[in-house]
């Protein structure tokens, strides 16, 4: 864990834009934690301190916020974090099967990171893609829907090559005739 983190000029410009959205500075806490996590890959305590110093807010407040929300990584994760949904609809449609397949494939358990630092797996609560179950989200970004073992194989291979899955636009089935 290093302890000398700093925002770039672009980050600071973005932070100024965020602050302008609100009448006070405290509401910038969540968005600026996001800026920090995108920059450093996590929000470990020294990063939380940087956010607190940048916004001139108590470090305890920033820590309280960072620790409340699940999407902030309070410790370093793999380059790609695979959040497999296992809540009700995904559970019914094989979410745990997909989770266990990934665990076996990567040789780690949910909550762990591979030794080469490439992948972390997490079992997460409902991501709001219930009709496209089972599904996962990659590093707080793209949703991968209707998972199968074959689809997971492809996604993992692509990620190893550094290419994120494409955004899958799922239409309204009422209008499928249109296409």
């Amino acid at each position: 864990m290093k302890d000398n983190y700093s925002f770039t000029k672009e980050d600071l410009e973005e932070i100024e834009k965020i602050k302008a959205k609100f009448p006070e500075v405290m509401p910038a806490t969540l968005p600026v934690l996001w800026v920090a996590q995108r920059r450093f890959g996590h929000v470990e305590p020294p990063v939380q301190q940087l956010v607190a110093d940048t916004l001139d807010l108590p470090a305890a407040h920033v820590h309280g916020v960072a620790s409340f929300y699940t999407q902030y990584y309070k410790e370093e994760k793999g380059k790609y974090v695979l959040d497999v949904c296992t809540t009700t609809s995904c559970q019914l449609c094989g979410g745990y099967k997909m989770l266990h397949y990934l665990e076996d494939k990567l040789g780690i358990k949910a909550g762990e990171t591979t030794e080469d630092g490439m992948f972390s797996i997490q079992s997460v609560e409902c991501l709001g893609a219930c009709g496209y179950a089972p599904m996962m989200q990659v590093t707080n970004d793209v949703y991968v829907n209707n998972l199968t073992e074959e689809k997971l194989d492809t996604v993992i291979e692509d990620l190893k090559d550094g290419s994120m899955p494409d955004f899958e636009s799922v239409g309204m089935p009422q209008f499928e005739k249109r296409k």
Partner: protein, 428 residues
Amino acid sequence: MAVDWKSYKPVLIPDIPNLENIDVYVKNGGYGALKEVVTQDKWGHSDVVNEVKAANIRGRGGAGFNAGLKWSFMPKPDGGPRYLACNGDESEPGTFKDRKIFEYNPHLFIEGALIAAYAMQVTTIYVYIRGEYISWVRMMEKALADAYDKGFIGKNLFGTDFSVEFEITYGAGAYICGEETSMLESLEGKRGYPRVKPPFPAQKGLWGRPTTINNIETLANVPLVIKNGAGWFKGIGTESHPGPVLYGISGHVNRPGVYELPTGVPVMDLINEVAGGIRNGKKLKALIPGGSSTPVLRADQLVDTCMDADSLREAGSMMGTAGMIVMDEDTDMVETLWRISHFYHHESCGQCTPCREGTGWAEKILLKIRNGEGEIRDLDLLLDLTTQMEGRTICALADAAAWPIRHTINRFRDEFEAKCKKSTHAVA
């Protein structure tokens, strides 16, 4: 009486390609309702409130409260800031509808929020979207920027003295932030702890100022009501719970997805005709009708049940968010309930003891039963626990956790008993 849904044409997300493009939206009459209310004398602020109240748009976030009536709780303007907070947190398991509005018809929601802002004389609108929906946040940022560019948001709209700002922000993973006062805390940059009511947000909301919170789908109905009138809206679906609904159908069906239909569609039509029936030719076992907190219904309870507040109440459940989770005959109800309880335990914010401890113990006891270590008396312990959680906390999360436990055990008691150890004597 069942509503005629087969001839229904969607209006929230109509079959118009590229409607997310502002030019296409405007070409199809978009922002016309906003212009009308802002510029025409016949639309005073209270006239808009009254029209929406008359339409009886029942909140689509789950509570089902008349949106116009909610607006009327805002105090008279005192010159200070007033807020509209749009709830796009959408975290109730089984619910995935608002993201369709963000993706396919964002301007309808934006227009609805702007009309609401005019009606309540709001100075700033915030839309709060769950952090996981970052792809849809980006779509909304684009839509908002386009609406600013075209002059539908900002100072002196259409040359009048009505001005409004519109900001977008997003969370970072917390179900509780869908609870309206928790969302306000999160918007203020804090941990998402629900607030004690009263004071209600209309009196003291964001930064202590008058604030109204509405669901995204609720607001998307507003321009349609203004354009077509409250009478038109009330003619859709059932009388006491009118209008279009985005049904999110998931689970063991052949064609899961979001479907826009009127309220009051028979449940069996939605499962068998709209969503293509149960997968692999299996039989229906149960349905969670409106997100995981709404009580589960057995197949025999669904026979004449329709998707509206009255019919679902009669059947023993609720409309919630219309996020329907369909379960086939092979579903293990003990496993399903344990997972739901795990969810509420994970998402309890921890402020109130009955919820923090109750959700944890419920999950532990259910895990014990699931693992074949439970006893029959544990079922009664769980039922007793639910009565000690419900209605004893700041927000409704404890209720949302208690209802599925009570109703799943009562409605599938034999299945739970079958998993329990046969001996009931005390183990030291």
